[in-house]
Subunit: 360 residues, 2 copies
């Protein structure tokens, strides 16, 4: 039910739509590994379940779950959420799932990127490498196998030809050391059906993904970018945000538009607490979780459902302000917050744990 | 996407339709365990693939495959066959999958029976026990959890209120020792939406399933039963077939009809060859495969697809005669044979490895 196609989406008239275009559903994957999620992943599972339920009010949600967790996940999620078996290494389907592309004539296919666990920092990853193909089977969507190591969190598109990404991640030698910037740009254009790549520099400070763009900035609509913004010059995030702003102000998109940039407050430095780190079982091959680690927190890491925007609740001092800005940018969507510290402790947030299935 | 329902199909107006009623598709599960399938299951996988392709010409086929076999199965099956991850212990989805029931008004649900690996002869079986729930999730069908150990191969229905089964299996103390015949009849009526149980005695000679009816007899249509028939009185199957015939001749169905019995030739005694047994890796907890073992071969173990009947090819001396009889019973279907000795060596045949999804 899923054939692998030798051509490229661009050659076949397919493009990746923006996240704010209509969805048929959303995929998530269930957390479990005790070397990344504290207390046998129990608190993370509760947080993931709350995100799933919040999205399910807006569009159908499918949860990919390993066999050993199947009954537990089924019991913790409401019946409206579909639970299917998919073996995973971890639970970041933004990065392991397919990137769906559509042709505007009823066709929907998927791009299956190569995956190397963010430059190899979480072993093993062979089950995660198989996730995209399995999702495409279940979605009955044909598959492009892109010759590029790429995680879905490292790209955003405006649906009108523009790709937003970061040099820190896409040009990192731990992903595609044999490819130069021009070659990567060409592959992005071909596999996303896009025309122009807008490069930001570094991503959010101390982000273990090597600066995924989806934690720093995203499109609110074509021509409008939301940017995680730190005011406090003592925070290294401030310089990163300034650099991104400068690049955006200097750039134009695929249609020749200049960007309007909307600043989202940075939740400020958040760190892993000792009791949080203590609940993780360290293991060789996994990035350790230590007390005092800076957490790569950002309100830009939200999910844009059909009728709801599900945003991370990170810090009571900033949640309301961030919610108000998001509501003003997306007046037709209900902005819903989900407590997401337990997700953040694992290395990402709500956008990282979701993958939309765009409507045909 | 699959709620577990506390009532019963009969109480909710649902019934199991006959296999000759229309299907939306067919499930299979991929063989792999080297303690049951010789040569690392390679020959069995080829046989399963051929059955899948034969059925796929008649209705959509979904293959349930464990993670470790996913890429191999995908590469051996044509793209029209959907390959999804489902962890299994073995590959008999007739027995581990759900029994679908419909209400005639667009509703389709599934019965998830308890499973104990045919009385516990193949350990472990906890993954197989989870198969039905996973299939129901993917089919978006709500689930009845029946308080009965039962394999789908141990029942046939005519779709008009009659259940055909065997005492050897359903009354076996290795399944439901706490239940008497009357209690089992009541549960069959409630969970299959049926009215009358017709009991045959023993199943096919030396059948490790304890005489599943689907290897001995089945409905060609309401009132007409196909029966595996051995003429040679030196074959212990002859007496079994005679006993079944006598019971059928003495019985009436739920509508009060007497049965017309059509005799299918028994392929005669077939045995496991030494080189076949040698390719299986023995393991504690698994029924051994020994040279000279009698194989429970039967032409009654076919699959009835929408436009095709896929029958086992078992013995050149009888295949053509069996095909002609089947063709005469199912004049509107194309009778297609699939070489099935490699399936038979594992303990069953084409009906055992398939599970229809009836149309709503």
């Amino acid at each position: 039910m899923s054939a692998t196609i030798d051509s490229t989406p661009a050659a076949d008239g397919y493009r990746m739509p923006a996240e704010f275009e209509p969805h048929d559903g959303c995929w998530m994957a269930w957390p479990k590994r005790p070397d990344n999620w504290r207390l046998d992943a129990g608190p993370a599972q509760a947080a993931y379940a709350a995100v799933a339920e919040a999205i399910a009010a807006s569009e159908p949600v499918t949860m990919a779950v390993s066999d050993a967790q199947f009954e537990r996940a089924r019991s913790l999620l409401s019946p409206s959420i579909q639970v299917v078996e998919v073996s995973t290494d971890d639970a970041w389907i933004r990065d392991t799932g397919p990137t769906f592309v559509i042709d505007g004539a009823g066709g929907r296919r998927g791009v299956d990127w190569h995956f190397n666990a963010w430059g190899g920092i979480y072993s093993p990853w062979e089950r995660d490498e198989r996730v995209a193909a399995k999702v495409l089977e279940m979605e009955e969507a044909d598959r492009y196998r892109a010759p590029l190591v790429l995680e879905g969190g490292s790209i955003h598109v405006d649906g009108e030809g523009t790709v937003l990404t970061t040099e820190e991640c896409l040009l990192n030698r731990n992903r595609n050391p044999e490819l130069g910037r021009g070659q990567i740009e060409r592959l992005l254009r071909e596999y996303l059906g896009a025309e122009k790549i807008v490069w930001l520099g570094p991503g959010v400070y101390d982000d273990e993904t090597d600066g995924h763009v989806d934690n720093l900035a995203c499109f609110a609509r074509p021509g409008v970018v939301l940017l995680s913004w730190a005011e406090d010059e003592s925070d290294p995030q401030a310089g990163i945000s300034r650099d991104a702003l400068a690049r955006l102000e200097a750039a134009t998109d695929a249609r020749g538009r200049s960007f309007e940039v909307v600043r989202l407050p940075s939740p400020g430095p958040l760190e892993t607490r000792a009791e949080e780190a203590a609940g993780v079982v360290p293991r060789e091959g996994t990035l350790p979780r230590r007390a005092g680690d800076r957490l790569a927190a950002s309100y830009a890491n939200f999910y844009l459902g059909n009728s709801r925007l599900v945003m991370p609740l990170l810090d009571e001092r900033h949640d309301d302000e961030a919610a108000a800005i998001l509501q003003s940018c997306f007046p037709e969507r209900e902005v819903v917050g989900a407590p997401s510290r337990e997700i953040l402790l694992g290395g990402g947030n709500i956008h990282c744990i979701t993958q939309q299935v765009p409507s045909r």
